[in-house]
Subunit: 360 residues, 2 copies
């Protein structure tokens, strides 16, 4: 089995920790390990080979992080992102048609690796039988930020767009709805066949682009060839149309790190009241989510804030408003402000950050 | 007339802008000018000479700031502060007994210099007649953080401690109560006579300390001699007891810069809604007081915060809780954390800060 790691994203909802050229998956948030490194290691336990799909700008960063953990991978470099269907098609063309592919984002967290391993075993078996397998995460609460999969055992009844609160609650109550995780398992051949059937233009242009790619340290797709591939997600292009799709209900401690609230949820914390922990000092403050860098952070009479401090940018947001952070990045881009892009004064270019305290 | 500038304070309520070794009066908060420099210039228009009373640690900082504005002064260096009565006694001993002294803190702001000049003319005249003159600021609102002076024309009926809210309101309503500004005017002789009468131990020990002082670039008091002087304020030691005290009601645009709220009040601001001004970006945020340094500051869904960002420390406080900031400094001292003391990573050692925005 080959692990395809999708690693081109920029994680705008974790700005200012995440920047376009230094996305969240490369931040060493977990005892010196990044989500990218953890993703590699988690899946390498079950795969013989890894293919990283990313862009040229992030190539050396990814390479360095692999070096750090003594890892190797093949690279597929996209000059521009065309969403997941083309990316996975190009990767599928890199391997033997019979090879089973385990497609994973690089910026998710899986806390229960034993359960994950068990799920993979089932997935691999179904993939070997020609099915396109998607992982449905058992929902823990009525999240409105994810798509859902309506299941009937391992069969998919339907894919659901991000629901409103009420609909999400109904999904939870019904018990056969799962979060669409973006993790997939299938043979290269099965995927390419279904892609050819339901999105022939993506298939054909991907094939052309792949054949014309440069091959040196990495498989490098040409810009014009990449732009010729229609942009689409694997869900829209294939999964929602194919009759060969299976879903595996998965309870694996999954988190997509899609906001500071979810990041905070999974990070180790010091919890205390108004005492000085590490580099903070709190006076009559509580329930604040603080992700610090090097600076002393003092609070007085404040509560329910997210405070995220980096060398060159500081975010202060109301807890629960994390989904709006991407609008900050959009605004910075609009204004051609480089802070969306890079750490301008990064003292620690590969970013180590620590949760300082949730004053309780 | 000689201006005595009291400049040894450390401004703990403006931490992290103000540090023990870099107090607020040296911060260049006003178009490149510090409160110390502004104090010097404001009073030098009315005085022939200036005497700076400060400590050894701040000597060169004060000297540099005088150099910058082409100014000169004599220095009296205290090895340890013993409050205002000893400081002023020592300064009074430095000049001719008939000299009129204008005693001013170094960290206050006076916005109406014309009115201030008029008040000084009256003060100087009364001082020449042997009176000890204190400046009573016409109160603008029922502040509970200041002492009040109950006046009857230029006569003082009584000094009042910091009142509670209700009492302060009563003072305002009665119309003959003034904020005790800490600005004084008297002849050296008159002050020393009254000090000798009402606080003879302070007078005597100050005289001894002054006589034994080293005299080189500055008059430098010996530590043991300084410690032998009882610690007391000029108000307690002299003004509240002497029968020669006069008060001059003053409407001069005075501010004591005693908290971020009062500092913010007098600083130039950009006011706007959710737009990017200078180095901030606000999303659905309002009524925040932001004093920035170099870093980008983004806010999402927050209101009524004070955000004060410096190179090595960040303060996030509820607006109106500014008086508690000194507790942060006390805590840092307790914990022997040097951040109360110095800017550990100061990029700009003499500190220029800008008001970024009050999102309205």
């Amino acid at each position: 089995m080959t692990n395809i790691i999708l690693s081109g994203g920029s994680g705008t909802r974790l700005w200012p920790i995440s920047r376009t050229l230094f996305p969240k998956q490369y931040n060493k948030l977990f005892q010196g390990r990044s989500l990218f490194q953890k993703t590699y290691e988690r899946n390498r336990n079950h795969c013989d080979k890894s293919i990283i799909i990313t862009n040229q700008e992030q190539y050396f960063m990814a390479l360095d992080q692999l070096d750090e953990i003594g890892a190797r991978a093949e690279f597929l470099l996209e000059p521009v992102g065309r969403n997941t269907a083309p990316a996975i098609a190009l990767a599928a063309l890199m391997v033997d048609p019979e090879e089973i592919l385990l497609v994973t984002p690089s910026d998710h967290l899986v806390n229960d690796e034993t359960a994950y391993g068990a799920v993979l075993t089932v997935a691999k078996k179904l993939a070997g039988q020609g099915y396109l397998v998607t992982f449905g995460i058992t929902p823990e609460y009525p999240e409105t930020g994810y798509g859902y999969i309506e299941a009937d055992g391992n069969d998919v009844r339907s894919f659901k767009e991000k629901p409103d609160r009420q609909t999400a609650q109904r999904y939870i109550d019904q018990g056969n709805y799962y979060w669409n995780s973006g993790i997939f398992c299938f043979s290269a051949k099965s995927f390419l066949e279904e892609l050819q059937r339901y999105a022939p233009e993506i298939y054909q242009q991907s094939k052309t682009a792949f054949e014309k790619a440069k091959r040196d340290q990495a498989v490098r797709i040409d810009l014009d060839d990449m732009l010729a591939i229609p942009e689409d997600s694997i869900d829209y292009a294939v999964m929602e149309k194919s009759t060969k799709v299976k879903v595996i209900p998965s309870t694996i401690g999954w988190s997509d790190m899609g906001s500071f609230e979810s990041l905070y949820e999974v990070l180790p914390k010091d919890t205390s009241g108004n005492t000085t922990e590490s580099n903070t000092l709190h006076l009559d403050s509580r329930d604040n989510l603080i992700i610090g860098h090097e600076r002393m952070i003092a609070t007085v009479d404040v509560e329910d804030l997210m405070i995220v401090d980096t060398a060159d940018a500081l975010l202060i947001a109301k807890k629960g408003s994390g989904q709006k952070v991407k609008q900050i990045v959009a605004r910075l881009k609009e204004e051609k402000n480089d802070l969306h892009n890079i750490h301008m004064t990064a003292h620690r270019p590969w970013g180590t950050y620590t949760i300082l305290e949730e004053s309780a």
